[in-house]
Subunit: 250 residues, 2 copies
């Protein structure tokens, strides 16, 4: 099977790398950003192009949601399978006469961070059983964790991921702003952060909640609001405490 | 040195256990909740009382901030050291004629979750060098990570911890609500959550940000707001996205 990856961002890079590490050869990596493509091409030993899209059986589109529709129009071939990697778009967002699919890896991809690909859950949706089998086999060569998912479900998976990953990371950014301003090394907080996550492998997060809001410690809540300077952090502080207190009916 | 721990909650339990595991014997664990005390006493083989406070050289008060002042008044002895474990109270909140100290473990303590005590940062503040040495030695028997900290700094350490731990855990709770409602197993998200945290051991959180807000993907942000039902989750969603977009000047 000839496979082409379209895109040159973090998802494209890690997808290509995951395939390569698992012995699946790629016919091409295609995109607009020649600088990025040539770097990926060199590292992973995959041909690249910014102009000529290689003939393939499967195209995996790894570009931002906004660009999926436009990019998918470049594939004029009919007898092939085209998948996007978006958590929120329907496969019908792909625009062409080929067979359409969704191939969604539930993970946060940063270019410079190595990943254990075999733990990434993959969610697959296609138009027919044979394509499902094809993508299942392909994803299973990377990961132990491959499932089917409708678009309806995938939207909620993505939404949950935004809370559990994107917002969590932003809390780390805001936390670091606070500690940086006081010249407190952020490393101090890493054991606490690690434990916060280890805990929810064993306990329901709702049972694991600690801190001033769930203790209804109004004195500390007020003190903290006074310590905070930044408008956004104050807004996060109030919103999160309100939500905690609602959840525990305090 | 005779040491007494006051309290019967999560901090008291783990503090007592950490001492016991490191061969430091405790003269007593003292508190109001006989049921909890007797359980801790039995598990860790430490005498307990709800009435008679044992004579000691060091009392470590592990109760909620609101109770520290009141509880500290029970110690009528003068020639002794009394420390609380609060992140936000000054040591002067302790009310008595003894020497006062802060002995703050930066960690989230849940009763049923085992902990690696040697990684917990301890922050110490006392009235004189000798007491600092005493508490340093004691904390160092548990942890490799012992530091001095003023009350001023400790307040900010605690505030940072609220963002990096308490709020993060609450995001996990809200995330799980969303996935539970769609019958999506929360286990799917654990590799993503683990990676979110592993990342910030290597990359600055501000560089590690992914997701629709930092991509300025307004279509997804709008879609997600429509999917959310719960008022608190909507409020969190909007607040966090706003804060992300401000941080990246989008």
């Amino acid at each position: 099977m000839q496979i082409v990856i379209i895109g040159s961002g973090n998802v494209a890079y890690h997808m290509a790398k995951a395939f390569r590490l698992n012995g699946i050869s790629l016919a091409q990596i295609f995109g607009r950003n020649e600088k990025e493509l040539s770097k990926i091409s060199e590292e992973l030993n995959i041909p690249y192009s910014t102009e000529y899209l290689e003939d393939a059986d499967l195209y995996i589109i790894c570009v931002s949601d906004n660009s999926v529709g436009e990019v998918s129009k470049m594939i004029t071939k009919k007898n092939c399978l085209v998948a996007h990697t978006s958590g929120s778009l329907p496969k019908e967002n792909l625009s062409g006469e080929y067979r359409k699919a969704s191939f969604y890896p539930l993970q946060t991809f940063s270019r410079s961070k190595e990943l254990e690909y075999d733990k990434i859950p993959f969610f697959i949706e296609t138009e027919n059983e044979e394509d499902t089998k094809t993508l299942f086999k392909l994803a299973s060569s990377i990961s132990k964790n491959v499932m089917e998912s409708t678009h309806e479900k995938r939207k909620y998976i993505h939404l949950t991921a935004v809370f559990a990953c994107n917002f969590v990371n932003h809390l780390f950014s805001r936390a670091k702003e606070i500690s940086d301003a006081q010249e407190i090394p952020f490393d101090y907080f890493l054991p606490l952060i690690d434990e916060t996550v280890q805990k929810i492998h064993e306990i329901e997060p709702k049972q694991a909640q600690t801190g001033p809001a769930v203790r209804n410690d109004l004195r500390v809540l007020e003190l903290h609001e006074q310590l905070l300077q930044d408008e956004e952090s104050i807004s996060i502080y109030k919103t999160m405490n309100h939500s905690i207190q609602k959840m525990y009916e305090l």
